[in-house]
Amino acid sequence: MKPFVDIHDVTHVYARAEDGLPAVRNLNLKVGEGEFAAIVGPSGCGKSTLMKLATGLQFPREGTVIVDGRQVGAPVKLAGMAFQNPTMLPWRTTLDNILLPLEIVEPHRSRLRRHKAEYVAKAESLLAQVGLKGQGHKFPWQLSGGMQQRASLCRALIHEPKLLMLDEPFGALDSFTREELWCVMRDLHAAQKVTIILVTHDLREAAFLADRIFCMSARPGRIVAEREVAFPRPRDLEITYTPEFSELVHDLRGHIAQARRAA
């Protein structure tokens, strides 16, 4: 498979970093098209930096970042993003929040006004897919945290991005809601054929969702281990209770513990 995201030997230092220490050093990572990749690591290991590099919000000091066959030199425009904080705009209804990216990205930006109904229908079908059917007219603050996070996923997907970047999107949710959203995410990935990079602290989450898991070291971050996850799809939550699953999680945990000790 040809890599869709290819981060090659990247070292990045933030201009604002006071100690001048790189956030990531000699980072190498390849994610194939349509693949679901997860990145796990101790906190502060540069996972968010990796997100910014892959979406063109930051440019590497050294090395190259190639997304969709092109070297990244500007925001990539084909990415959707979701964060731990759903960041819905409180003055817009949930539906209008979801339509927000279309007001920015071409060609939708110039089409939105005349083809509003078509886009609204699409947003509503996305809402139905994440289990929020008919909730679009509500304001985000009338929704629970888990529902806001679902809406935030819809917003990340409305412009049919080729790359979806998720930065601990389920980190602030209770464990039942989190497992529900894993299944939502699994189904969205199966339906949309989008390449996903999920940054997470939750090893079970990574093992359940991803095709490929990267373990990062402590800052300055680099990849210390890469695991393919062979569980067949579609996966059921039950697999998280199998010995093979526990073994994988245990193995990942070992790498993270080592990375933490090294720090």
């Binding site: 964060f83 904080n85 003055w91």
Partner: protein, 255 residues
Amino acid sequence: MKTKNQLALAPWVFTIGFFALWEILCHVLRISSFILPAPSTILLAVWEYRTQLAYHAMHTLWMTLAGFGLAVGFGLLLGMVLGSSRLINAGSYPLLVGFNSIPKVAVVPILVFWFGVGWVPPVMTAFLISFFPIVVNVATGISTVEPEMEDVLRALGASKRDIVFKVGVPRAMPYFFGSLKVAITLAYVGSVIGEQNASNVGIGNLLTRASAAFEVPLVWAALVVLAVLGVVMYAITASVERSMTGWAQRSQMAA
């Protein structure tokens, strides 16, 4: 429902109570009406001078609204610029703060040199005194956009302009309306100062003349008229705020 009625009644009860107390104290302590007229005396004066007061009050209202309008337009624009550029923000703050520290009453003579006596100095004073809170609040609202929100939009290729207009400005609206409530009362202060020093009409001018002639009840009557105008304009601003930014007023504290 009971608390809602109580809330609606509270301003009236407090206000009437305040004036009743004032009235009683004046009578009990036998305070001379030259020092502190009782509310009843002031009310009589308001009635007696009603045509004169109405004429001057209308003039002051216009001066205030014109100055306030300028302050809103200019404040919004400058606030947007300061909120979206850290460089301009950092560069211009000393100038702005320095300017705002100058007592505006000291600026009125300069305005008279420039524009002469008339309607310009009161309008300008009202403007100069009331734009600062608007600038600061709009700038704060825009510059505190959540970084995640900014990332979401920038990754889609949004320009700085897109982010300011789609997120920054709507987000700053509660701050903006909050500042309008401060600005509208300041604008009254400004226009009255301007009229006192550089106008032949308006409540400010009336105050100057009445105090020179020791017409104490008229002075108090003019002050009461100003206060009432201020409260009315504040209430209008607050109701516009509620209808425009209801989304921001959903906390239990605000209810």
